[in-house]
Symmetry: C2
């Protein structure tokens, strides 16, 4: 069977990608500072080998031949994914790949210091080069797959995603959120829980909550890195966090967020380990799993009722101020977990303001791609939209404005929308889970996460990459992605 | 230039090997228990790709062509090393490689439980299979390179090493050591330093001593694993240790031993990173660097004079018994560091008895290879030699006898001799360093390791794999490997 050849070549590629995933985790978590250049060489060489494997010309023949063979639905979906990767690898000329790799690496490094120094002038020409090369890449991909250049970039992060299906979602959010933010802030309470909270105690707390919701420490780890992330592979899932001794909730919710990603990864179908169809779905679906856990579940009252005694046991004991037993009670945790505030920084934003940060970036990057916006005009456009959406001026403040995120400087255009699509999908999936599971809120309050995680595993995790996010949502919730449940969630949580 | 093609293919192979080295470190130090099967798949796939790269038939043509080009001495030595790897990779048929990989993996796993249960009967047939396959491999390699089968195995661990050059060294050691052990034990004092010594304090002590002797933490780490080892790569060198709260010297000397390996690795020639000629020399030379540091330097009085105040600062403070200020003094540390005792276990042996453990294994494994010893007769042969060499019976005690080491069960035949050749080479190199560096003992006592480490870097580390160990010894000490300095070292340390 020709299909077996495809399967074997995908298996090799999968193991190479597994190695890359572990090495990238190591780079972020373990690697000493002076070993970066060598690691860069190793990663680039392995990535080159992976590119060679996925663009091997034999693959095209094998795909054609195997489609005449009798394949089951999983095998057929696997061939589709192999074809997708093959087309993407073949579409972009190798010298363009190299040029992008060099330009983004240089620009990303420059961005680190330039951002710190609020220096737009230095980074501007570098970003211009990166955007120019990214447009070339988008054009090459678009020609190959008969879509628009921006859709071609979207597809890399979220298979099958199109601007035409983002627009109605983002238009709706943009229409009600600015006024909604005013209302939510008016009801939000400005409180604090005085620390300090020792790192070791925060770490024990994080581990206990991870275990409670279902993280499998036999096949995963928790460590520390500069930014929290979920890395590694399905059977060796490694999440990270960082600790702030003045505010334990930062790390606690970061851990729970990454645990949502991790449960997805740990729940991928074993039988398809290393095959493209066995990988996680797109970034929006991945983010829906982290946000379902963090936003839908863990920042809600049911979860905090369960968590409060665990938090008290881990972090209480000594007395700070005169809050007494209520200091770490569920009410106080809930008020902290659901504060709404306008701010400049996307990664610090709450779930109410967050979509506005994303929509701003989406509007600018689509305009960059279509040529309606030039790189030199980004700071002004950013400022204008921040004033519109959140009433904040970023004039002259590049550090907290258009230079705050690494994405564009690293060549990642088309990535931002997936954050908010994930938030919307999370609400839709959680609404379906509530409908499917009797007394889900009560179960969560009792610390019984098996019904929810089992439902997610059956309906989402175990499907791997068989379906696009919209197909999956239709199967599981009966509808493609829409804002209804997200809006209802925000109203119930922040206005009632 | 055709040489450039060889260089590029070696570079790719080198990066693949770098990735493997980091993943193997991770497996031993970080990987969660349940991720072993997946990691095994990843490692096997990458090792297979490395094998394919090093046996690529084009290499043979490129080697022939490049030898007609004008190459410098390093390039020529690099071609020699590429040829060596190519021949070894080509000599062994792929189905034999796979059969050995499966047999050793199965046998090694079985060994873990069988050793714990002192169960020779279960492991015997598995070991028979491993030895049989190893003999086939040795025969294949031997035919290809016109040497004896055992020499072909030796060459894998120590390029160019031959039984004929081991015999005179081991014969000499075997002739004087048994009586020497009696004398040394008679002068050895049985003392102890009461603990406990907290792990965190031991770790700080280890790091301080590593830094003092020259370990570069900007390009390396210290962690914990089941057995201490030095892993990683030249520009990311990772050593490990384990901690015993009752005896800090175990970990302290393990750390210093691995630091010797690490200094070698960190001192390899940058310009030849990833190329075969830029790798470390054979295992005997590698072990000479760890034993030079541990045995020649750190268990000596000069070093302990320097280390004692550091040890006191790290581990003193509280009072145990009535030893007072002398509890962690240099004299006491020296007496502890130089105890000589007969024992069953090689890895616990002191430097006086250690060679006898190795010679025993050497005599048995050469007999296994030549057919003079059958696997079924190993336990009796082991017992007989232990009685001869150390006066200890291992009758019925497989756990502390012929099942104590994983090597043979993992298919590693030809490896053991390098431990003792390394000890002998360490003495010879250290004698040369003493002759070359004015007042070396005083410098070490003052904590000034730069003269010694600089000398090692110039004379050994920076040479990479350009020379065989014997060639290097002749260049640096004027003589090939011989026991004179080792014997003098033992006499000075244990009989005077």
């Amino acid at each position: 069977m020709t299909y077996a050849r495809l399967h074997e070549s995908a298996r090799k590629l999968g193991e190479l990608n597994n190695a890359l995933a572990m090495l990238m985790w190591d780079e972020a978590v373990m690697m000493p500072a002076g070993s970066g250049n060598g690691r860069g060489e190793t990663l680039a060489t392995l990535a080159g080998m992976a590119h060679d494997l996925s663009s091997d010309p034999s693959i095209e023949d094998w795909i054609d031949a195997s489609l005449n063979e009798s394949l089951d639905a999983w095998q057929r979906a696997n061939v589709d994914q192999i074809r997708r990767a093959y087309i993407a690898a073949k579409a972009v000329p190798k010298d363009l790949v190299v040029a992008i790799s060099k330009a983004t690496s240089k620009t990303e490094q420059c961005w680190r210091t330039a951002r710190a120094e609020n220096d737009w002038r230095t980074i501007e020409p570098l970003l211009e080069e990166v955007v120019g090369l990214t447009i070339q890449r988008a054009d090459a991909l678009a020609q190959m797959s008969n879509v628009t250049p921006y859709d071609a970039l979207l597809d890399e992060y979220e298979p099958g995603l199109k601007q035409s299906s983002i627009d109605p979602v983002f238009d709706d959010l943009a229409s009600f959120l600015p006024a909604f933010v005013d209302d939510a802030i008016a009801r939000s309470s400005e409180i604090a829980i005085p620390g300090p909270f020792p790192v070791a105690a925060q770490e024990r707390l994080g581990r206990e909550l991870m275990s409670a919701v279902g993280f499998d420490f036999e096949r995963g780890r928790l460590d520390v890195s500069h930014h929290p992330f979920c890395g590694g592979i399905a059977d060796d899932t490694r999440i990270t966090t960082r600790y702030n001794e003045d505010d334990f909730l930062e790390s606690m919710f970061a851990v729970l967020h990454e645990t949502g990603h991790a449960l997805y990864q740990q729940g991928l179908p074993d039988a398809w380990r290393g095959q493209p169809v066995g990988a996680a779905g797109g970034m929006a679906l991945h983010e829906s799993q982290s946000l379902l856990m963090e936003m839908q579940v863990c920042r809600g009252d049911d979860f905090l009722r369960f968590a409060a005694p665990i938090v008290s046991r881990a972090l209480g004991g000594d007395s700070h101020g005169d809050l007494g037993a209520d200091r770490l009670g569920a009410d106080r945790l809930g008020a902290m977990a659901r504060r709404v505030r306008r701010g400049f920084i996307r990664v610090d934003a709450d779930e109410v303001t967050y979509p506005l940060h994303v929509i701003l970036r989406y509007q600018l990057e689509t305009a960059l791609l279509s040529g309606d916006l030039q790189v030199g005009d980004i700071p002004t456009a950013w400022h204008d939209k921040m004033v519109d959406f959140l009433g904040l001026s970023t004039e002259g403040n590049f550090h907290d404005g258009c230079m705050q995120d690494v994405h564009w400087f690293a060549g990642l255009i088309g990535y931002f929308p997936t954050y908010t699509l994930g938030a919307v999908a999370a609400a839709q999936l959680f609404a379906a889970a509530r409908a499917a599971i009797d007394g889900l809120g009560q179960r969560i309050g009792d610390g019984d996460f098996e019904p929810l995680v089992g439902w997610l595993r059956d309906n989402v995790h175990s499907e791997g990459r068989r379906f696009t996010t919209n197909e999956l949502l239709e199967r599981v919730t009966g509808r493609p992605l829409e804002t209804k449940d997200f809006r209802a969630h925000l109203e119930a949580r922040y206005l009632s």
